[in-house]
């Protein structure tokens, strides 16, 4: 296939949290608000002159200083972010919108506050309380948190407009981005699609890590380009897999998987498009903020939600995505030392395998997989197993 026009530029944008578009947006008088978690409604960070930057620590190597502070048995994602913060990698931020969802990430934000990683006078770190289940009163509680601990703080520190009109404008822009990403994402359902899983991962990450209004024009052009892109005649992959689990912002993970012969057809992980790139449907006469909060709560696939219906939702979502995107198997992954996904992965992997009938590869992985030999071997073996299964289903015909 012909290379996408912006692919190299997009890859470059992902080399640093403080990328060219972020710098440009700040130069234009906008405020960068860092966040990590899906529990924090991205769209609320894009009101008026604020824009969201989903934090990553690309090209991470040593996390020694963060390990001194947070010990070595804790989430590498949180430690890598802290290390990057201590190195000065987030000095550009105007604020961090935190949620008290998991202890490692909460401590990471707290360290950033205590260690003073950002010297801007109005820099803020806010911590919002996040519910464990969905009830009317928990939606109300989270709505109050978003108003008091996020929007009011953004207004106070950055002087931005956080009215319903400003929020609706952000929703409109967000929805356009989601429509583009969903259209591209859906092309992965094709037998011989005009996009690879790696390319989609790149597009998805730039949509999270760059200011929406600055990346949107390039994504509009990219979707046009993909619509008319002609795939190679021969399929380039050997098996289709859905990736399910915890945070993946490491392009090398998808690259390694696809180099092993897999095609990542669905990305049901944090920093992926499921959830994250669904349009937010709003009744403009209702409580705008509450509807947004409820959208994020209902679409969240986070293992932290402990009520029965959410547990069941996670399994059903994985199953239906794998079916819709015509996957041959599921890779269930978990960031090493993440407690939520550590417990979720074994149980859900067994259930998806035994009750839903999916071949499942269940793995834990470091934040940066680089060129991990162990993972490569497991991916290759899984792809082979899926191929053999397909051959057996065809009655042994190669």
């Amino acid at each position: 296939m012909k290379d996408l026009k912006y692919m190299i530029e997009f890859e470059d944008l992902l080399q640093s949290a403080d990328n060219d578009l972020v710098r440009q947006a700040q130069k234009d008088g906008n405020f960068a608000i860092g966040y990590t978690c899906y529990h924090m409604p991205e769209v609320l960070l894009n009101v008026d002159k604020c824009f969201s930057v989903r934090l990553r620590a690309p090209r991470s190597t040593s996390v020694d200083i963060a390990t001194y502070y947070m010990s070595n048995y804790t989430c590498e994602f949180a430690r890598s972010l802290l290390e990057r913060g201590i190195e000065g990698g987030y000095a550009f931020l105007d604020g961090i919108a935190g949620v008290d969802a998991c202890s490692a990430m909460n401590r990471c934000y707290e360290h950033m506050e205590i260690l003073g990683i950002n010297e801007k006078p109005n820099f803020f770190v806010t911590h919002c309380d996040i519910p464990y289940k969905i009830e009317d009163y928990t939606v109300d509680a989270m709505t109050t948190q978003m108003r008091l601990r996020l929007l009011n703080v953004m207004h106070e520190k950055c002087g931005v407009d956080t009215s319903d009109e400003a929020i609706l404008a952000a929703v409109d822009e967000h929805n356009e981005l989601c429509r583009i990403m969903s259209e591209i994402g859906d092309m992965r359902k094709q037998d011989n699609p005009p996009i690879t899983g790696y390319e989609y991962h790149v597009l998805c990450l730039v949509s999270y890590c760059c200011p929406t209004s600055y990346i949107l024009p390039k994504l509009r052009e990219t979707v046009e380009e993909i619509r008319s892109r002609v795939p190679d005649e021969k399929k380039w992959y050997r098996a289709r897999v859905a990736v399910v689990g915890s945070e993946v912002d490491d392009l090398d993970f998808t690259r390694l998987l696809e180099e092993s012969g897999a095609f990542v057809v669905a990305d049901r992980f944090c920093y992926g498009s499921k959830p994250g790139r669904e349009e937010i449907k709003i009744d403009r006469n209702g409580d705008i903020l509450r509807q947004i909060v409820e959208h994020y709560m209902r679409t969240s696939e986070c293992a932290r939600y402990m009520s029965e219906e959410k547990i069941s939702q996670r399994r059903v979502t994985a199953d239906s995505l794998a079916r819709d995107y015509r996957a041959d198997g599921i890779v269930f992954e978990q960031m090493k030392f993440c407690d939520f996904w550590a417990f979720e992965r074994p149980l859900a992997s067994h259930i998806l395998q035994e009750e839903f009938g999916w071949p499942v590869l269940s793995i834990d992985r470091p934040y940066s997989v680089r060129s991990s030999g162990q993972l490569r071997t497991r991916f290759q073996a899984f792809v082979e197993a899926l191929e053999i299964k397909k051959i057996q289903q065809r009655g042994g015909e190669v």
Partner: protein
Amino acid sequence: MAKYPDPSFFKKKDKMNLKLQAENIKEIGGIVGRMLLENDWKHTAGQIAENFKATGKRLSYEASLAASMDVDQWKDFLLNGEKQLGKLYRRGKMATVRREWRGIKDTGVDFYEWCRMWGMLLATFSKDLIPSLNGALHYRWMISYFCCHSFMDKNTLGLRSKALKMHHELIYAIFRYVAENLVFLMKADEKGGNSEELSKKIVLLDEMTMAQIMAGFPDLVGIPYQLMPVFLLSEIDQLACMPYIDAVESYGLPSDTCPVPTSECGACVVDALPHMGACFISSSMPCDGSVMASSYTSRRFKDLPTYHLTFPVRYEDESVMEAAVKDIKGCIRFIEEQTGAKWSWDAYFEAMKRFNKETEYELAKWEVNQTPYPQLIGPCYELFRKWNYEMDGGIDPRIMKTFEKVDKLMMKAYENREEPWRGKMRHRAIVWSVPAHYYANFSNWLANCWGINVLVEMESLNFTKPLETEDKEEALRDMARLYERMVMRRHTNGGYDHVLTELWRQVEIWKPDIVIMYQHVSCKNMSTLNGLFDDQAREHGVRLIWIEHDLMDPRTVSRSDMRAKVNEYMRTVMREEPLDPSLVDFEDDASW
């Protein structure tokens, strides 16, 4: 006053499945038979001979010690007891080689308490013995409760005079609760007594979920589901949870998770939890691992209606209070629907009045322990505090007597300026982070070996505001505040201020010269603050002794490795020698 627990609970009709019992006995018989056949009897005989030899060696050593004592030493020995406690341990043995000699008077007291505990246990189990015996044949964890006397002994090691009496009072109250609840568990369990009548009266509470909500349901009994098969079990016998951990790790759980929820999930995998109860109150407390363990329990017992009681994490923010109160109301409604019982405000307020009084007694203990003459310190006190705060919660009226008795003894001891470990107080310490006293009998060892007296531990310093006992809405808000500040949650949730800055505040109050810093290697919540503790301890001039551990999994960090950390620190940094050199290095890897 109504009797507690309701005597009719013991009399509920059993519907034992005799066929199931017969099959189980047959299976157990087969296992025992195979063990007898496959046993290497020659090796067993060798071990017996070795034991005799070791006992002979110990007796001759003790005789030589006795022979070398002068009159004053004999007098001291007879009045104050023995000094070398390390010789009570023997390599590879589960129990100590004999009971401790504490001096004539205290040995008498100790023996009386030993008999009293046996009497209570036998009386309680005899209320419905057969289901419990069945349970002992179905669940291997039941066998570990046979060594509860050993737990009592190790937790009172070296204690003398009123401190010994107080510790016995406290541990007696705990074991009475344990015995009664074991009887209920085994009576109601499908594999045991299978008493449907009793099962309908039981509300199962998730690990660490406080019992106070059950105070409003005097016709029901709330039992912490995993307490007996997992948590307390591991404190009595540190080795008992390893099969659970291994089972769930074989299932795919990574080995870096906290052994508490890990063991709970493992107990589901190996089917070690009794199958019973009208409903289950699962909770999001205290930590991320506990949240996730609920999904294993609900999957194992699909027929057990479950309510997820979830409280806000940022609990100082009063804007989250409304949701917390609504969740409590939802939970009360759920229990009513599942059991047919009705919430009684009168019963709740009555119990909370007791709980408030108990909190006053608790504060009195803190006041005494903050003086240069601390009295009620050590593992039994810490265990009692947690049990009373979390699991009793003012519900059992008998506990008031325990408080009264202990308070009287404590004040008397304070007036006499007594030392709990007589002549052994060199350092004042507080314990911070996830405590591991019970698994390793650590506070006791610290006092006996190095004279480090632990005045209080982090998990005791919880909510002490008197709970509302008149206004119903405010009472619910207070209950939410209480639950949000439960053991293992008050400090670890809601921001670093609650645990990091709080330590320096407590150091000001308690004036310790050492802080025992337990580093639970699998606790993400605490270990993510390691560096800041170190940085700020230097700023505050506080000595931290870091002791790594992994709670009920001694394979990660053994008890002797934990002790070695203190030995090293005391010798190299403090340049001190131990009070009891026999306790510096001894082998207790196989002991309870």
